[in-house]
Symmetry: C2
Subunit: 401 residues, 2 copies
């Protein structure tokens, strides 16, 4: 597998567009993204577990049952969540308008939305925006990557190539954050494309596996969105023999590459968490099982106190120990070990004297790594988060205005 430039239009047969439709107040900001595959593509998705699911999430879940999609239409600036019957009608209108303009089936168009909750979509502007976007489809993917953003400060893209059964297969993806990020079986918005030939059920298995160690392991603020959606479209244009089982070497190769792209995009989301200045990586070892390792790693990344300490570059490791202690997982207080990067601070439950100057140097970095061993088993997991800053509060105290 090698990392290459590009994103969703790197795999063969995918086109994209991003335009400004006037949903966002600022006139120059793009707010409609369109992703289109020249061939009907096997599709899989993971969506939010929030019970207050947005209308586009409910509609897309319905369309995903067929296992095939050909386009994804996305608006930013309005989540179309908690919007009642009108919300569902608007989501259906988005799919229908896209399908009619592209001359494809309406139920082959996934719909995604992100932005403020509880405000009806300005549907006339959205319709005009969709029609405009279809006129701008190209292999230039930066506009679509831009058009899905809200409070994000940079576009999140990734692409890789790998050899599968003698064919070069490409995977590309785009994602957005950057608040209300605490994915549970899903994420905010992330769209992946590949020219791989793969059966829908197998694609779904690969996506779930990749998601578990990537989007599922990040948190910005502990709030799980109403609109989380992770989609992958595989159009088969790499011309490899279709992958039809999860036991093949080809499946393993593809899933590893897909997971790599997912982790890269997931880390970019937390790097660009609302107000964030630092990325936190929490490595847990010695857990009783995989689920507990994940839970422990996520609990530390979620702790407001750990996040604030990292922002303040304060080696307050006791907060990491405390967060692990309430993570709801098994641990041995007399075996717990906590380290800031290579600097061991607590070993087998006993605090070690440490050089504040060395800790201070480590905490000046942009990427802060904590390592903890729970002392009860052999399972491991890594989670990623970001610091809690004045700017997080500022951004979220005035989101609507």
């Amino acid at each position: 597998m090698k990392i290459i430039k590009g994103s969703i239009c790197t795999p063969k047969g995918f086109l994209a567009a991003g335009v400004h439709a006037g949903i966002k107040k600022k006139t120059h900001k793009k707010d409609i993204a369109l992703i289109y595959s020249q061939k009907l593509a096997a599709a899989a998705g993971v969506t939010t577990v929030n019970l207050m699911k947005a209308a586009p999430v409910i509609l897309t879940e319905k369309f995903l049952t067929s296992g095939y999609l050909q386009a994804i239409i996305v608006n930013s600036g309005n989540a179309n969540a908690c919007t009642g019957d009108k919300g569902m009608q608007d989501a259906e209108t988005m799919a229908a308008t896209t399908a009619a303009t592209l001359n494809i089936l309406p139920d082959a168009v996934a719909v995604a939305s992100t932005g403020v909750i509880g405000v009806p979509l300005p549907i006339e502007k959205v319709i005009a925006g969709i029609k405009n976007a279809t006129q701008h489809l190209s292999t230039h993917d930066e506009d679509a990557a831009n058009a899905i953003l809200t409070t994000d400060t940079f576009v999140k893209t990734c692409a890789v190539a790998c050899e599968i059964n003698g064919k070069t297969v490409h995977i590309g993806g785009i994602a957005k954050g950057s608040g209300m990020i605490h994915p549970m079986m899903a994420t905010m918005l992330a769209f992946m494309t590949t020219d791989l030939a793969i059966a829908p059920a197998v694609l779904r298995s690969a996506l779930i596996e990749a998601n578990e160690d990537s989007f599922h392991m990040i948190t910005v603020d502990g709030d799980t969105s109403t609109n989380d959606m992770l989609l992958v479209l595989a159009n088969g244009m790499a011309e490899n023999p279709e992958i039809s089982t999860t036991t093949s070497a080809a499946y393993q190769t593809f899933t590893a590459a897909l997971k790599f792209v997912c982790i890269e995009l997931a880390k970019k989301i937390v790097q660009d968490g609302e107000g964030a200045t630092k990325l936190i990586e929490m490595n847990v070892t010695g857990a009783a099982n995989k689920a507990q390792a994940r839970q422990a790693a996520r609990a530390v990344c979620r702790s407001s106190l750990v996040k604030s300490a990292v922002f303040g570059e304060d080696a307050n490791w006791g907060r990491v120990a405390s967060a692990l202690g309430t993570a709801g997982v098994e641990l041995d207080p007399n075996k717990l070990t906590v380290a800031l990067d290579h600097l061991v601070l607590l070993e087998n439950g006993v605090p070690l004297p440490f050089d504040e100057a060395i800790a201070s140097e480590i905490l000046k970095e942009k990427n802060i790594i904590f390592n903890a061993d729970l002392g009860v088993g052999t399972a491991t997991a890594t989670a990623w988060g970001c610091d809690l800053t004045y700017d997080y509060v500022k951004i979220n105290a005035s989101y609507r205005s």
Copy 2:
């Protein structure tokens, strides 16, 4: 029941002291508190569920098994948590020193600590401070209420009197916050005294009941402390016939009064949450059962996005709906109703147009009330939290310095 002035020394036979021992850096700040009952008292406690329990918590749990205590010794400025064997020895030294100076049994002295985690106690200073505190015991309770504080900005006290079986019974309490507050079956530090005569097992039942609707229902930052401890001492000096069953009218009267004191103290903790400018009250109705009602109410108070919106006085009610949707409880998206105080914003899943000017007026208040009906049952609960502000980040970015 009537509310009266005072706190822990209002019930008959209780004395208290608060002195500066030099654990806190600032020379004028009190950091040792002592509470003493002239008679051995029935005692009950609830302590943290954090697996990284502090040494004083472990020791006090052991002493509580007898059902009787006569004193509580507390230090602030150092949590004596994650401090290994030395931490346990230090906690035992605190109990032994207090007992020897007061000439009571060592296992009748509860020990509590609060402050930074993972730093050994300056035990010589603590010993000197305890001896000094015993010289200053009096019915003046303000010093003890002060000495248990850390980042708190005001003392938290409450006292009530009620008639039980022809006798006037008093209940007094003090508490402290104000960060790492997300009590699970416990709270930070809260100490209650009463001159009621009551059997230890019955006192424990009353405390658990009172705690469930008070300390258990508050959150400042979603982080559960290593040191949470709620204790009540009942010395019988009101001379009522001892309450020996949970089915008596006397038990009901006492528990209601105890719950009132607990709720008052709990609300003061969130009012004084680190950096807080506003108290948030979340009332949930229509839940499937009591446990789910509690969980839903707490989830909203924990949401960083809801907290930031309240700080910014932004009527971003969609975040309340979203937090309810991921609270892990049953709700009906088509019946969910959300109101800001009396202003209904979402009714049966449909957003209502609302007057921003009215919302803005409500949000200028110090106490912000949200009401939500989940539409699936009849259970209710109330939780309390506070807003997320620049000052929370500031306080916690530099706690150790």
